[in-house]
């Protein structure tokens, strides 16, 4: 189940442009780590290289190490498809498959992995939807298209879809940025519940959100325009928000940025 992640000297590129420079950090299992920092500093880029989604972008590459419980996910023997099966991802904008029903959306990952047993699929669908706090709202319309839900419901559907395959790690890129405060709270509660079972990394622009849900916070920053983003510091969330080591971090969280 939940596994730890160790990132060592990770440099990430889009073609020739280096977007992120020398990131080293560890994410302990069953905890929430928040990535914060100004726009364009490379938070999404780092997050996407944790499950090898980064290389999907044409021309994108990276070097350095990303270890999942000690095993390098970039080793030449490792299949990116199996990495993505064990490290789930939730995107900024809810992206349920529009041609699939709610239930089919939830079990899509399981179907891909080859599960055909109807009973098992139904059970997983219910368990995952309950896990994502969506069951009560959709249990009567499981066969309707996933696109017919509200934005917040769609995002929880995407979370249900991600946890249905029981990943070791869950990556979330600004999962609440398109949602209203109530849906946001629902998802934050959900994150707090999910961390009992999963290792979670979440990118957020919302400082209060980082403070509320995360155990550890990583602050990224840009040295300047056209420069690669860097990890400034990573520490316990309380420490970062009350007494950060770096001046840049303090400026950023106190809103004196730029």
């Amino acid at each position: 189940m939940a596994k730890r992640i160790d990132v060592k000297d990770l440099n990430i590129y889009y073609g020739k442009f280096q977007a992120v420079d020398g990131v080293t950090l560890s994410v302990p299992p069953r905890s929430v780590t928040a990535f914060i920092g100004p726009s364009g500093c490379g938070k999404s880029t780092v997050l996407r290289s944790l499950n090898r989604m980064h290389e999907v972008t044409p021309g994108a590459s990276c070097d350095g190490k990303v270890l999942l419980d000690g095993e390098d996910i970039y080793a030449s023997t490792v299949d990116p498809v199996s990495v993505r099966r064990t490290i789930g991802m939730v995107f900024q904008r809810p992206n349920p498959f529009p041609t699939m029903s709610i239930k089919d959306n939830v079990v899509a990952g399981l179907r891909l992995a080859g599960t055909k047993n109807k009973k098992e699929l139904n059970e997983v669908a219910e368990r995952s939807l309950r896990g994502a706090n969506l069951w009560a709202e959709v249990k009567d319309r499981l066969d309707k298209p996933g696109g017919g839900l509200s934005g917040g419901q769609q995002q929880r559907l995407c979370i249900a879809r991600a946890i249905a395959v029981q990943p070791d790690v869950l990556l979330m890129d600004e999962p609440c940025s398109a949602l209203d405060p109530i849906s946001t709270l629902a998802i934050e509660d959900l994150i707090t519940e999910l961390k009992q079972q999963y290792t979670i990394v979440i990118v957020t622009h919302n400082m209060q959100q980082a403070a509320r849900v995360s155990d550890q916070t990583a602050f990224f920053n840009l040295a300047g325009v056209g420069q690669p983003g860097r990890l400034v510091e990573v520490d316990g969330t309380e420490k970062i928000f009350s007494n950060p080591t770096q001046k840049a971090t303090e400026d950023y969280i106190s809103g004196r940025f730029g």
Binding site: N51, M53, V56, P58, V81, S82, R84, R85, G88, M89, F91, R93, N95, P96, F97, P98, T99, M100, A108, G109, L112, A113, P145, G147, C158, R161, A162, V165
Partner: protein
């Protein structure tokens, strides 16, 4: 308040829209008006007769049943051959091929559309037919027990049959189907593709779960566009198909004529209004079929709107 610019633009665009509708209606009415007198003097059943004797305006005997068979059969053969190939090419170009290769390959496919029909016709009967003869004979011999592969009403050796015509038409409609489906597959939202990838989908699974469902309606209408083109193709088929009066055996080795090739072949006798009217009646049927195919394509696409 309506701004003058808006008003001018609106009248221009609605004018253009009305113009198209009027144009189509005018074509339909023209065909109908010219066809009716001949249809009234037709001595056989227009829809069911196999005859086509129009040289004597005083004794018109014309029916479309054979034309309908050959037209539909050639187009269906073309569609059956072209759609899987077009689907494969479009998927390869958008999902698998490296960018540079994709661009030049797409260009080559588009180039096919620039080859004049007459060249396709000559190529079909002179080059393709002899090449495909062993295969055609093999079909005849070993699959002949399936009615559509049995011997036709013209000699298989001559090659002037529905099979060769269908293959040539398939090549001719390949570019349009490929180009349209390529554009549609390219527009698969990145969010959906990445959603599938993040669940651990392989390339093919991404295609199956996102690209194909997203592009299905578009692909169907691309195929219908191709079908419309195949139904109306004239010169290539006039060159290829062997004329015959023999009863069709309803196999892909039948010869004969399509609506369009019959009209083209008849142009020598366009000297009497009643004779011409007979051909126009045939043209009208082709017009209606093409219209129906397009309408069908549209309904298919509209039916998928809620998922777009």
């Amino acid at each position: 308040m309506v701004r003058p610019g808006d008003r001018i633009f609106r009248s221009l665009t609605s004018g253009a829209g009305v113009f198209i509708v009027v144009l189509i209606a005018a074509i339909g009415i023209f065909l109908l008006l010219r066809a009716i007198p001949s249809l009234q003097r037709d001595n056989v059943n227009f829809l069911l007769s196999r005859d086509w004797v129009t040289s004597d305006p005083a004794n018109l005997r014309f029916g479309i049943i054979d034309l309908l068979w050959v037209t539909v059969a050639t187009s269906v053969v073309a569609l059956v051959l072209a759609t899987p190939v077009a689907l494969g090419i479009a998927l390869f170009l958008t999902q698998y091929a490296p960018r540079k290769l994709a661009r030049s390959l797409a260009y080559v496919v588009d180039l096919l559309a620039a080859v004049p029909s007459i060249i396709f016709g000559l190529w079909g009967i002179q080059v393709l037919a002899p090449q495909l003869l062993p295969f055609a004979e093999w079909l005849n011999e070993y699959l002949g027990w399936i009615p559509i592969f049995a011997l036709g009403n013209v000699s298989t050796g001559g090659g002037g049959n529905i099979f060769i015509s269908g293959v040539v038409l398939a090549v001719m409609i390949l570019p349009i189907i490929t180009a349209v489906s390529r554009e549609i597959f390219e527009r698969t939202p990145t969010a959906h593709v990445e959603g599938a990838l993040a669940l651990g989908a392989t390339k093919w699974e991404v295609v199956r779960t996102t690209v194909l469902p997203f592009g299905k309606a578009g692909f169907i209408s691309a195929a219908m566009l191709g079908l419309g083109r195949a139904l109306g193709e004239t010169i290539a088929l006039t060159t290829i198909l062997s004329a015959t009066d023999a009863q069709p055996n309803y196999t892909i080795f039948d010869g004969g004529a399509t609506f369009a090739s019959r009209i083209a072949l008849g142009s020598a006798e366009f000297n009497d209004n009643l004779t011409v009217g007979a051909y126009i009646a045939a043209g009208l049927v082709l017009f209606l079929i093409t219209f129906a195919v397009n309408a069908l394509a549209r309904t298919v696409v509209a039916g998928k709107k809620e998922y777009a």
